[in-house]
């Protein structure tokens, strides 16, 4: 194709996006669009899969059968989200194995929040309430993103996430209405998960890159700081309702702005975790790598068996 032709295609493409038309796998798309989407969708998929681990840590010790079943189902949903998202990503011409390789080699990122440990049962509540809460704020706009398979996956993901978020909040509510020991457990979980959740929206706008392009492609509709503000505004009253305190002395309602003011994030901690030195980065990655490596013989067996069955069929036909 000539450069002119490509420019023409790009123009048509940008117009389609501007008209809110969905881009589908077989449609022409700029290489950068493809690469950006592979990066973002796969990061999102990896986050779902790695996100199974901190919550999975409490399945065997859940305090009631009802909670055990709910947690197990929730973690399973995350595996399901991983599946849709990997499939969406595969439509962009990359295989699942390549995506796994990127994760296992440390080349691909996943959400840093999952590098914190779950150390009490209340953490399961806090993750549902805060982490899923933050995730939804990040993700809801993606239900209208330009790439069709991603948008459709996100609709399903968001529906389930908001169920998870309510479930998490309900765990917190039960603890806060429980014994003093339980309420203390809830407060402690909020203390530990608040700032990492705030970090889920990424660097402040002045530090953030790629935003303009992402806005255009509807991979992003609001800036990091806007989303973070939305999270604070949504969560602060919920904490009040629970009767526990967000660990930020600067948190205060600003009547004038119509928003909460809040304190500064510890960006050193943010970058430490992003760079792979959080409390559980090594454990999370090695859990995934181990599962994958120990599963190799199983996947090989399934392939070998399928081939044998296929050969038999062909033989019967022939």
């Amino acid at each position: 194709m000539s450069e002119a032709q490509i420019r023409n295609l790009e123009e048509i493409f940008e117009q389609r996006i501007a008209r809110d038309e969905k881009i589908e796998p077989k449609d022409w798309m700029p290489e950068k669009y493809r690469q950006t989407h592979i990066r973002q969708i796969s990061q999102h998929a990896h986050s779902e899969i790695v996100g199974m681990l901190p919550e999975g840590n409490w399945i065997s010790r859940a305090p009631s059968l009802r909670r055990k079943v709910a947690l197990l189902a929730k973690v399973q949903d995350e595996a399901g989200h991983g599946l849709y998202l990997y499939s969406a990503c595969e439509t962009l011409g990359i295989s699942r194995n390549e995506l796994y390789d990127q994760l296992h080699s440390g080349k691909a990122k996943y959400s840093s929040i999952f590098n914190y440990p779950t150390i009490t049962w209340a953490d399961i509540g806090a993750i549902g309430w805060l982490v899923d809460g933050a995730a939804i704020i990040n993700q809801v706009p993606l239900c209208n993103t330009s790439y069709g398979p991603y948008a459709r996956a996100m609709i399903r993901v968001c529906k389930e996430e908001s169920f998870h978020q309510r479930q998490g909040y309900e765990i917190m509510m039960t603890l806060c209405k429980g014994t003093p020991e339980q309420k203390e457990m809830a407060q402690d979980a909020l203390n530990r998960w608040w700032w990492p959740s705030m970090m889920m929206f990424g660097p402040t706008d002045d530090m953030s890159t790629h935003t303009e392009q992402s806005m255009k492609w509807k991979l992003k509709r609001k800036t990091n700081d806007e989303l973070r503000q939305q999270f604070v505004d949504q969560t602060a009253p919920q904490a009040d309702l629970l009767g526990i305190t967000i660990p930020d002395p600067e948190l205060e309602w600003n009547e004038e702005k119509g928003h909460y003011d809040f304190g500064e994030i510890d960006w050193d901690e943010f970058w430490q975790v992003v760079k792979g030195h959080g409390p559980c980065n090594k454990e999370r990655l090695s859990a995934r790598v181990n599962a994958w490596e120990e599963g190799e013989w199983v996947r090989d067996a399934a392939m070998a068996y399928a081939k044998k069955q296929q050969d038999k069929k062909l033989q019967n036909v022939g």
Binding site: S60, L72, A73, G295, A302
Partner: protein, 251 residues
Amino acid sequence: MEKKNLVQYIYGIADNALILGQRLSELCGHGPSLETDIALTNISLDLLGQTRSYYQYVALLEGEGKTEDDIAFLRTERQYKSVLLVEQPNTDFAYVITRQFLFDAFHLALLEKLQHSKDDTLNAIARKAIKEVSYHLRFSGDWVKRLGDGTDISKQKVQEAVNMLWTYTDELFHLTEADSEAVAEGIGVDVSQLKEDYYGKVKELLEEATLEIPESKYFQKGGKQGIHTEHMGYLLADLQYMQRAYPNMKW
């Protein structure tokens, strides 16, 4: 039937679901592929769902404000009446699948009889569970075939698992006192009658999976009397941790 015996009879069924459900739940997030991870979690969810139905019934029978959680979490090891098979550890995927297959084949046969129990709660639970367990058996059986007739490595691993776990199959067909009484009253299933058909079907599938049938004369038993293997204590330490550490709280 005496309430106490009926409760014991239900433990003999329900505890298998709890313990196997717990074992499978330990694997969540660590499977060889997302698809098997999801499938095994489904089986775990089904089993834990069945567990809750049985224990809710036990709680009702026992009265005194007992809950399903008291029954699940606050018994001593000797009071759990699950068979030794289901508490065996998740050594590797071959063990997980073989344990599942050897249990599912029994479980389905049991439920097919239990759906005709004179006890309406039990027969209702059984009818609902049959659909679930038919799926479990199809899944585990298919995987035994894949592993048996897959690669040399997978064949060796699944054969080892079959050989090791085989010694726990005989116990499935032992009648406890509670069983005998429940059978006499038309409530319980005479599991000893399921044995021949079970081994027939299991052997047929193992043969299809090109595996050898173990020729063990010796079998292990004890779970039905609450005499478990050394694996059980560690499983319970995790299972019961929260209920033991924070007694009398709502979650």
